[in-house]
Amino acid sequence: MKTLNIIPVLIAVVIILLSNAVFANDDKYTQAMQKNIQAVYTAQSIPDYQTAVNAFERIGAAEKTKWEPFYYASFGYIMMSNQEKDGAKKDAYLDQATTALSKAKEIVPNESEVIALEGFIYMIRVSVDPASRGQQFAGLSMQVLNKAVEINPNNPRALALLAQMQYGTAQFFGSSTAEACATTNNAMEKFTTFKSENPLAPQWGKQMAEGMKGKCK
């Protein structure tokens, strides 16, 4: 009996070891990423973000062929820039965000999420110095966000960011915000319907769209 009992245990151990050998990397990757994605979504302060970004950079450096670590590192830097008050430091974080994102772009040149994040970076660039940068970066942001929507019309983040830019432009010129609000509604809808097969796909942005929705009422 006792000898018989050991066999399933051994088999189980072997299977676990084998499956670890075969699937370990991906599983480990997904797990590590999920943990840190959670961290970057719940970060409250610049040190929180930097800690999460550091983790993404470690994973990205080890993996080299995955775009998600660089994407989230870039996202983390954008959030840091958002929290920073000093213009020069905001820009420095955005430089880091750009560097990280360009690595993601090398791996997946046509990923709507990555391109949308590029548009987000330009959007924050404007906020550093609207008077002298509005022209150049607002235009670039629009251009890039439109491209992200073109690639994936269901990407709610690309839509939400585009709505934000449209709203800002309309407000600046005192023109109608109808277009911006239509894009917002579209984004809201896509937030509920759009499901990516990628377990590590970005999930953020719904609050931003909800905020826009509030303004549209």
Binding site: K2, T3, N5, I6, V9, L10, V13, L17, K28, A32, P47, Q50, T51, N54, A55, E57, R58, I59, A61, A62, D86, G87, A88, K89, D91, A92, Q96, D129, A131, S132, R133, G134, Q135, Q136, A138, G139, L140, M142, Q143, T169, F172, F173, G174, S175
Partner: protein, 717 residues
């Protein structure tokens, strides 16, 4: 069996999951902890971030020899091998500070850099376009900065006791021979190059880099824009003419063409003018810019423009208004600039190019004809790079060739030609040596050979800058500068020595939270200025000399008041020189002791408008009254001007721009002209030099046509 089983499991666990603890501390060069540094066990997921004291601790199941990499923004990466065998590893990692743009001290003595790219500039490219009173003229906007003296009847840059020819303009490092459009006597001229063409402007009021030669007082270095991003057409309807610009952009390049017609006739018909125009100025101008990215980092830029302008006026005698003669001027101007920049490797870039200027002034003075032509070629190559992360080197060579010719054809058929050819071969080298992010020394020298006087010269330049706090710094600059005497002097005596100046500048600057404070003091010594021998304008030597000294203040704040940006400049100048016909050292007529400017810009969201006001004050300038015994002893009334502009954006693709100078209509007097002969009572008659018009009103409507309707011409205004 149970024992066997658990032993087996333990064994497996040990083999696969032996843990090593790695602890340590990340410190800077002074031993202070660096928080949030990234500690990476290379090629694994393992690692951590250092805590607020710089300490870190993590465990890893990896075994064998691995690389531990530590990195943090602003520091060089550090890596070392660690042996992982289950025993704790403790390391102290010292990171070496990197010299980086954000933290490092900058040389600011004498320099006003305006760029949209660099973050710590005092002045932005768009500021030039939106400064009231400047009407989108580069010199006009720079005249609101300290170090400049307003000379209302000229429109040029007069820097620290220097005259208008002592400030030189460079586009992408290449010399522009005459950067100003022709203007009637005593009316301000405008720069030939519009601010929207440039992404960066570096205006130096002294102590500039060894790269720039042939400028005694100031170097204005303009960096042209890179490739245009969007295909668009811009139309400008102006109260004094119109322009149309088309931009065609493709993936790696762009081309821009512009044509502009300016006719001030209708304007002069509307408003009574001081000047007796026969034909007010009319000009047609075209320009084109081509950009192409080459390879990975190469960029080719070609820019060219042509301008044809004409006007004629009646010059009245001071003694008798009815005695007058006609002065008719036709100016033809062409400028071509080809620039190439390429990265040689990660550390070195090469840039260079060729510029060509052609200028012809064909004047009829009464019945005499004077044709003045100047052709110039400037070729230059510069290598820039780092010898290490603490030493940056810039070195280059250039050749400036100028041909000047003045041809008189007198009414009686006789003629006279005065001409010269100048070739200057120059080389320069300059190194920026950073001792730390806090202290930098820039040392360089410029070598020049000039064929006119067959002379070889060496001019040293040195600057130091020290960061006194996170946002404040002190800098010092010293340099020797030389410049060939003005054309009208060299054409009389081609072997004149260049005029020379020595600059000593001390600067303190503090930039914090969108507020800038700057104070600068300087001493400038002039030598070898051209002098008339025995008061005879046809016999010249280099016996003249002079000095200028002063103190300047600048304050800018775009934070304290909502939607408001303003700056204030004050310059005090004490200068005297003995040159040309001066009997002894005296303050020149273009020098004013006190200059004050206040620029105010206010954004009104409710009406999509930016409003701007500029107030300028200049204390009285000297003038020579031959009726008194003392030279240049007269003093004009003070100059003051309040200008206004309004940019209105009703639609994303439409801008309405209105500007008016001298709102208060002050009758500014720049000086007095005297008759060359005494009248019956033994007195020289005089006439004041006044503004051409009390006010200049300008209205422009700018329309942009593009696929994306959210684009407008704001930055080009």
């Amino acid at each position: 069996m149970k024992i066997l089983c658990s032993t087996l499991l333990t064994f497996i666990a040990l083999a696969g999951y032996a843990q090593t603890k790695i602890t340590g501390k990340v410190v800077d060069e002074r031993g202070a902890g660096i928080p949030l540094a990234n500690v990476i066990l290379v090629d694994t997921y393992d690692g951590t971030s250092s805590d607020t004291e710089g300490n870190f601790e993590f465990t890893t199941t990896e075994t064998g020899t691995k690389i531990l990499l530590v990195k943090f923004v602003g520091y060089k990466d550090s890596q070392r091998e660690v042996v992982l065998q289950g025993k704790s590893v403790t390391v102290t990692v010292q990171l070496e500070e990197m010299i980086n743009e954000l933290e490092a001290v900058m040389i600011t003595a004498g320099a006003f850099a305006a760029s949209d790219e660099s973050r710590r500039t005092v002045f932005k490219a768009i500021d030039i376009a939106t400064t009231a009173g400047a009407t989108a003229d580069i010199a006009g906007a720079l005249n609101t900065l300290p170090g400049t003296q307003k000379v209302g009847e000229s429109g040029r840059l007069f820097v620290r006791g220097g005259d208008g020819t002592e400030a030189k303009t460079f586009i992408d490092g290449l010399l522009v021979l005459d950067a100003y459009s022709p203007s009637a006597p005593n009316t301000p001229s405008r720069g030939r190059f519009l601010p929207f063409m440039f992404k960066g402007t570096s205006f130096s009021t002294g102590g500039y880099s060894a790269e720039y030669g042939q400028a005694l007082s100031s170097a204005l270095a303009l960096d042209s824009k890179d490739k245009a991003e969007m295909t668009r057409t811009d139309i400008g309807i102006l109260s004094v003419g119109g322009d149309i610009t088309h931009t065609q952009a493709w993936k790696r390049g762009s081309i821009i063409g512009k044509i502009q017609y300016t006719n001030i006739r209708p304007y002069f018909g509307l408003i009574n003018q001081e000047i007796d125009w026969e034909k007010p100025p009319v000009s047609i101008e075209g320009s084109g810019a081509f950009r192409q990215q080459v390879g990975k980092d190469g960029m080719l830029k070609v820019y060219g423009n042509f301008n044809h302008a004409n006007y004629s006026i009646y010059q009245h005698s001071i003694d008798d208004y009815n005695s007058k003669f006609l002065y008719d001027l036709t100016n033809n101007y062409r400028y071509l600039n080809g620039f190439y920049k390429e990265a040689l490797n990660d550390n070195w870039i090469v840039r260079g190019g060729v510029s060509y200027t052609y200028q012809e002034n064909d004047a009829m003075v009464g019945d005499d004809n004077i044709v003045e032509t100047e052709k110039g070629v400037h070729a230059k190559t510069v290598f820039e790079g780092s010898l290490s992360d603490k030493v940056e080197l810039k070195t280059g060579a250039e050749l400036i060739q100028r041909t000047y010719n003045q041809q008189f054809t007198f009414d009686d058929g006789s003629n006279l030609t005065r001409a010269f050819d100048e070739v200057i071969a120059a080389g320069f080298a300059e190194a920026d040596i950073y001792t730390s992010n806090k202290f930098v020394t820039r040392a360089g020298a410029r070598f020049e050979y000039n064929n006119l006087m067959d002379q070889l010269s060496v001019d040293p330049r040195i600057s130091l800058a020290y960061k006194t706090g996170t946002s404040s710094q002190v800098s010092f600059a010293y340099g020797k500068f030389r410049q060939t005497a003005k054309n009208e002097l060299v054409r009389i005596n081609t072997t004149l020595d260049p005029e020379k100046a020595e600059h000593f500048i001390l600067n303190y600057q503090r930039i914090e939270n969108n507020r800038t404070f700057r104070v600068e003091t300087y001493y400038k010594k002039y030598e070898d200025l051209v002098k008339y021998v025995n008061d005879d304008a046809s016999v010249l030597n280099n016996a003249g000399n002079g000095y200028a000294k002063g103190i300047e203040l600048f304050w800018r704040d775009n934070r304290s008041l909502r939607n408001t940006d303003y700056w204030i400049s004050y310059s005090f100048l004490d200068t005297k020189r003995n040159y040309l016909n001066y009997p002894y050292k005296a303050a020149p007529t273009f020098a004013s002791k006190h200059n004050f400017s206040a620029v105010y810009k206010y954004f009104v969201q409710a009406i999509n408008s930016q409003l701007g006001f500029t107030y300028s004050y200049t204390s009285g300038r000297p003038y020579n009254n031959p009726n008194t015994g003392k030279f240049n002893n007269g003093e004009t009334p003070v100059y003051s001007d309040l200008s206004f502009n309004w940019s209105y954006l009703p639609k994303p693709y439409l801008i309405v721009y209105l500007s008016c100078t001298n709102l208060l209509g002050r009758d500014n007097i720049f000086g007095y002209e005297y008759s060359t002969e005494q009248n019956a009572n033994g007195i020289y008659n005089s006439r004041p030099v006044r503004q051409a018009a009390p006010r200049f009103l300008f209205l422009g409507i700018f329309i942009t046509l593009s696929k994306d309707k959210s684009v407008n011409q704001l930055p080009s205004l």
